[in-house]
Amino acid sequence: MSKEMKFKEIIAQYCEVSAKDMKNALRFREDLGFSSLDFMSFLGELEDEFDVELEQEKATSIHTVGEALELLNELEMAG
């Protein structure tokens, strides 16, 4: 499974949208119905799954699926 698909599958756990329909422009709260705690829990899962460390402040400024993916890519490149 590709990294992007794995990433989207994690998101899909918290909402009604499946990983294959997960468009990058979708917003976590407004479009996917994430609660603030869903989002925090999702960030924790990203850390565990992809072995990266997120700065909470930076991560919580993310609004869309695409922005989260971009941050993950940046962290992986840096790591």
């Binding site: 705690l37 925090m40 829990s41 850390e47 919580t60």
Partner: protein, 532 residues
């Protein structure tokens, strides 16, 4: 003596060598026994005495940590008064609360070290600031003498809670208020029972139930470093008991439901060797028994394997979750409380519980009803709001606390809630939000003529009727108006803790419907005004 000192000294005497706290530092687990914790607490207590703090208000700003607890217990097991504040509040609000609470000293968490200078500059009563760090605490000199505990009628803690008038109120809880609540709550834990604390420590529910109560029983409390890591920490610490707000239960349920669907799918997919990733063969998977095995395996994966009880309160929980978690061997026990009652009023217990209800009153509490509103009387009811006599008079009448919640007792003595008298919005994470407080801030924008904040879909919606004259004058299209208001809301959000963020905006076409005295009818805030 009915004070916190008595509870703590007894715990240290009975459980000296048992681990009291466990926490993570860069993935390494650290721990401290009751005896080790008491050593530092005594040092804090005598330090305060040596620096002439007696009956003084001493604030704490920081996330849960060993030092926070040592600071708190050092304050309240002596003769001083703790003022725990929300470390997530903006700087100006914290400064205002430090001044309004007449705090004379401060224990400050490293994450808010930016406040150090500002507090000295803007809070004239603050004489000392200590950082909530291991380094600072290890430098406190050894206690050469001890200080007695406070009298039961003395104030132990002032907890700030959202006020309906837009100004937070300082709930004054006495030594007896808190210690009686600790004693009255039924909590099924033996010495050494492992708990994981995930709620913010400045909240009465967390402070009393997660810390004071469990310490009185000799439990081992594990500190969750961030909600981001809660699930990971559950598998590291393997707690037996946790306190959660409903929103946390909803989030965990999503995870476990997804993992369960995945597990069943995998059982069906792995045809080659007839096994699955959860250790159950395909043949077995078709039976009821194997379904239980899958759930047990998942409970071990998500909950750590030992979790048997989740206490919850602070907001409504759909009974659906109680049923679902029971399938994983976890009892969810709902309770009801408020800071003003130290905080537990009613609770379900392992032996006495009813889904949908918030339980029976604890031993030191009496309930009554006035026009459907729940009234509470008992030894855990607060002394009053700090320096707010009018608000105290409104809330406390003849010793009865007016809760602002509506409810009823069923024939078995279980309490059910069915509405609210006041306007507070109760978020699923247990935070109480005063809509007026936010509305006052938002209405400062000249483009906003009227605004009502409502709690919807786990977030806050600002329903705005714009200042039409100004909109016309500026020649703003509906899109431009929305963009301009959104920019203002974004700016407001950036200075607020997450639970106070406005997550949706509705621009109204008509002004709000008002009652005969000219007040906006909140219950009709979602309707357009047919008369306009």
């Amino acid at each position: 003596m009915r004070n916190i000192r008595d509870i703590w000294d007894k715990a240290v005497y009975d459980f000296r060598d048992i681990t009291a706290l466990r926490w993570l530092e860069k993935k390494n687990i650290h721990e401290k026994s009751y005896g080790e914790l008491d050593h530092i607490i005594r040092n804090v207590r005598t330090l305060l005495e040596k620096e002439n703090f007696r009956g003084s208000h001493i604030a704490l700003i920081g996330a849960s940590s060993t030092e926070w607890l040592e600071g708190y217990l050092g304050i309240v097991t002596g003769t001083n008064i703790a003022v725990p504040l929300d470390a997530g509040l903006p700087d100006d609000e914290l400064i205002e609360l430090l001044n309004r609470s007449d705090s004379e000293a401060l224990f400050l968490g490293a994450s808010r070290a930016n406040l150090y200078k500002k507090v000295y500059e803007n809070c004239p009563k603050i004489k000392r600031i200590w950082m909530l760090t291991e380094n600072e605490f290890s430098n406190f000199s050894e206690a050469e003498f001890d200080v007695p505990g406070a009298m039961e009628y003395e104030i132990a803690t002032i907890i700030y809670t959202s006020g309906t008038t837009g100004k937070s109120k300082g709930v004054m809880l006495t030594q007896q208020n808190l210690s009686d609540n600790v004693r009255a709550v039924e909590y099924d834990a033996k010495p050494g029972c492992v708990t994981l604390s995930v709620l913010p420590i400045h909240h009465a529910y967390c402070l009393v139930m997660d810390y004071l109560k469990t310490l009185s029983l000799g439990a081992t409390i594990c500190i969750n470093d961030s909600f981001m890591h809660m699930v990971r920490n559950m598998s590291i610490f393997k707690p037996e008991v946790m306190l959660m707000v409903p929103l946390m239960i909803e989030t965990i349920y999503k995870k476990i439901a997804a993992a369960e669907a995945d597990a069943f799918l995998r059982v069906g997919v792995n045809k080659d060797d007839g096994s699955s990733e959860v250790g159950i063969s395909k043949a077995e998977s078709s039976t009821e028994e194997s379904s239980l095995m899958i759930k047990k395996a998942l409970a071990a994966k998500v909950f750590g394997g030992n979790l048997r009880i989740i206490f919850t309160g602070g907001a409504h929980l759909d009974p659906f979750y109680i049923e679902k978690f029971a399938e994983y061997g976890v009892d969810i026990l709902e309770g009801y409380g408020m800071s003003e009652c130290s905080p537990v009023i009613t609770t379900n217990t392992v032996s006495n519980h009813k889904p949908g209800s918030i339980g029976r009153p604890v031993d030191n509490v009496e309930l009554a009803f006035e026009n459907g509103e729940i009234l509470v009387r008992g030894t855990s009811v607060m002394k009053g709001y700090y320096k707010m006599p009018a608000e105290t008079e409104d809330a406390l009448k003849d010793g009865w606390l007016h809760t602002g919640d509506k409810g009823y007792l069923d024939e078995d003595g279980y309490l059910f809630i069915n509405g609210r008298v006041k306007n507070l919005i109760i978020m699923s994470n247990g935070e109480n939000v005063s809509p007026e407080e936010i509305e006052n801030k938002l209405s400062l924008n000249p483009l906003i003529s009227e605004v009502i904040v409502t709690g919807e879909n786990n977030g806050l919606t600002a329903r705005i009727y714009p200042e039409t004259e100004l909109v016309d004058k500026k020649g703003l299209s509906p899109e431009e108006l929305r963009e301009e208001i959104q920019r203002f809301i974004d700016e407001y959000n950036s200075g607020q803790p997450t639970y106070r963020h406005i997550t949706a905006i509705v621009i109204r076409r008509t002004p709000f419907i008002r009652n005969s005295t000219g007040k906006i009818k909140r219950q009709d805030a979602l309707k357009e005004n047919p008369a306009a």
